[in-house]
Symmetry: C2
Subunit: 191 residues, 2 copies
């Protein structure tokens, strides 16, 4: 690996935010997945969770989504294993939902360890995800469209998290565990 590439990857790893993640419930469309993972990478999200309820879609697990090399995608066959992992990691769980019970997404403190659940393009999140979450959040809308594109909604929320974390100095404090750092340097070193 060239010294420049080593420096670039080291700097990226210094700014990774392992305590910020997404949890995607049956988000199928590849262009949405690709945009989601690309934005996650851009705000320093180090891994995301993808939940597949339908056997059919489990097949597409391998589909390349671009920035995947730099953002780990953990696949799960159901919601519960993902929730258990997120709870064990001490994360607050937020669920995006177009409901009267949802609070404005900007009222949340994203400097805390946080997971954000996003729903399927047509049906949105499951009732189980709503029950499992600490808060329902919504992005305000003033037009005729009833919802935003899922990768757009995720990006708007992630950049609010980025804004808060930037202000709190989170990007100045390396937090990625050393073993994970070494894994990425080893695997990612070769272009």
């Amino acid at each position: 690996m060239s010294p420049e590439r080593f420096a670039r990857i080291s700097q990226l790893l210094d700014q990774r935010q392992p305590d910020l993640t997404l949890c995607l419930e049956s988000v199928h469309k590849n262009h949405n997945l690709a945009a989601l993972v690309r934005t996650a990478d851009a705000v320093g999200v180090h891994e995301v969770h993808a939940i597949w309820y339908e056997r059919h879609f489990r097949m597409t697990r391998g589909a390349a989504v671009g920035s995947e090399k730099w953002v780990k995608v953990n696949h799960h066959d159901g919601l519960q294993p993902a929730i258990d992992q997120l709870r064990a990691e001490g994360k607050q769980i937020l669920v995006t939902n177009l409901s009267d019970q949802a609070v404005d997404f900007r009222t949340i403190d994203y400097t805390k360890p946080t997971a954000i659940i996003l729903g399927q393009e047509r049906r949105g999140v499951t009732p189980e995800a709503i029950t499992a979450a600490d808060h329902q959040i919504i992005i305000p809308m003033v037009g005729m469209a009833e919802s935003l594109n899922v990768s757009v909604a995720a990006a708007v929320i992630m950049y609010e998290a980025q804004r808060q974390r930037e202000a709190a100095g989170c990007y100045q404090r390396p937090t990625l565990p050393e073993a994970e750092r070494q894994r990425v340097l080893f695997e990612g070193g070769h272009p």
Copy 2:
């Protein structure tokens, strides 16, 4: 038109922000255009501009992009007519560009009349657009991906504008000209 639908459309028109717009330079992909127009509608952008340099793509002008019924799309054959119109409307012109000369997008005052130029998926914005603009703006990124998806970038900037305009009370002051209001009520009244 039912009284409920009339009330819903009237409320939407009260919150429209005619002095905030997008200018899309050769953004081709339909899923990106659809997401862009949907987000524009959600933050109260009333019309956007689309510039087509290539004859081939002018053909797709008619392509349905979802929320188009509620967000007017003005098509232009070149940049200059669009810039002339935006200047005549007294708008500051911002161009998104991945350059060292670009300032953080959050340093801009979006409560001013504003147009935001976005570029083509592969090539970005043209040098002419950069020259025509008052400021180059960039969304900070800390990962390996070199850019964001265009509809994601537009959404992140539009929601910063929404945040500033909400705080400044812009959504409480109806500003859409009466003739335009009547046009939309007339054309949009029939589902």
